[in-house]
Symmetry: C2
Subunit: 361 residues, 2 copies
Amino acid sequence: MTTLKNDRLLRALLRQPVDVTPVWVMRQAGRYLPEYRATRARAGSFMQLCTTPELACEVTLQPLERFDLDAAILFSDILTIPHAMGLGLHFVEGEGPQFERPVASPQDVARLGVPDPEVELRYVMDAVRVIRRQLSGRVPLIGFSGSPWTLATYMVEGRGTKEFAKVKGMMFEQPAVMHRLLEVLARSVTSYLNAQIAAGAQVVMVFDTWGGVLTPRDYREFSLRYMEQIVSGLTRENDGRRVPVVLFTKGGGAWLEAMADTGCDALGIDWTQDIGEARRRVGDRVALQGNMDPCVLYSSPERIKSEVRTILDSFGAGPGHVFNLGHGIHQHVNPDHMKVLVDAVHEQSAAGRQGRAAKTR
Amino acid sequence: MTTLKNDRLLRALLRQPVDVTPVWVMRQAGRYLPEYRATRARAGSFMQLCTTPELACEVTLQPLERFDLDAAILFSDILTIPHAMGLGLHFVEGEGPQFERPVASPQDVARLGVPDPEVELRYVMDAVRVIRRQLSGRVPLIGFSGSPWTLATYMVEGRGTKEFAKVKGMMFEQPAVMHRLLEVLARSVTSYLNAQIAAGAQVVMVFDTWGGVLTPRDYREFSLRYMEQIVSGLTRENDGRRVPVVLFTKGGGAWLEAMADTGCDALGIDWTQDIGEARRRVGDRVALQGNMDPCVLYSSPERIKSEVRTILDSFGAGPGHVFNLGHGIHQHVNPDHMKVLVDAVHEQSAAGRQGRAAKTR
């Protein structure tokens, strides 16, 4: 294995000192980049792009050519596991992901098995291996999965939803069935992430996109509990280094303390929380990743720089901060603004450290 | 003026003792009721229904015929003020509200004036008067408005949005222009709610549907500050009784303490907060209104009753609770389930009081 040249991300996620604050951005390989749109067009469909390791590798690396990012994140979809379970994932232009065979009954749940990551999800593992080879130790590679609750929402609803009536219907009326579904999903996610780690992922992140639509009681019982199960089941080492685990619940600011107690290394937070306040709440248990409002990237370079300043100042001195947006980058953002963001994080956090060092002298 | 026969809502909002916990539901006059759909069809359009006082009165009273509710809420739209300012509100089937002339420039903002509620919004005041007459003191009437920030989002975006790119663009790049817009909206909302109170509204509520998409800093500067200005400008009396003011920011659970400090009487809370925890945070400063997940109404009567129990128990003993959903009732809910909810709140809270009284003896 090649040596990791830039290990800021790993160090910051484990709350170790770094020279400057590392930065990466959710959906950094995505539609706001013209080169991504070109590869996507060449692939023919989004699914083709996801399932062809060489193309997934190509788009994963694209943002690293333009920006001084401290991490690459595997290009894939959060719904690969239900697809591997046989639900028939497809994408309808302008409508997002849909399943041909949603989960509707206890029988449907009983039929679901844990996919073998090196068989049904081989294309993902191959992508991880190709990307690691191409990266040759430049920055670490982040693997990821959707959370069991988030996967369950799509599997039961069959598509995106605003009301969540079907999946909550199952949760309220047939909690035992819902727990069986979440149980098989938790085992599948654990096996999937462990396979990504074995294939070369150096950090893993669980995206709980829809945990924030639950009451605090239901969140603990139907989302957090299964993420905790995943965290305990993960192989936490790769190339002799610890593999940090990041949990991110969109809209989950109310439950940061409980999330920090799962044994994960870091929490992603969205922009509706003050990151300094979040840090006071979780203390030294976990690192924090976030949390700029993605809409700030539509603003002028000066405004972007001042928002970076505000967030770095709010987090304050000491280790444990990975800069990110609070959600995926929007598709109409000017890529030059992304460069302003990445450079501002490095420059300002370096200056901050010198300033503080000067004061200490 | 006729005497108010059921004043539980007013008492609970002012944290005074009540015999049972009062209950009403956001959008209780709405599409889940077949009689509403019939009146809506007769009106021809949603705008026609809103702007015809007799029809607005008819649908306002419909849920009171079916359910033992403790309040009526004026049937209207949150976007009446921008419509009165000349933006041209219309509703596109399946797409929600849209404005013909959105606010795009500093010049557009400079042109906006405070509407005269008894002229441009006369149809709303007439509806309040007709409803009060028809209610003849049965339950109190709640008047309402959208918050300045929420009105501004629709006025700048021109329609519903998921990204809020335009309105946040103005906020980030032209904060002075945004403040001018919010200032004229705060004066308009104050005048609009005071006119509703003069016409007969016995409680007023400000709906801040989109405050939850802001950072804590931006929320305080661009949403909360203007709601506070409105609260201080309201006539707080009607028929010799205090008119309670309720603030509701969807997704605003992080800022309950700051909201309670505005001088309002009560806070609406959504279901992502534990109501007992919210009560501990705001102490005796305000009453709380909420907070059942609207999706529970898709469940069985038994499940609805158990959720009512959980919420009443979480709030605990003592005054200051108005039962409500955490958001508007969904359109496909069976009206019989709404009856289960309303009756369960009354029965269980009465039993709870007897139980506690028995223990005290």
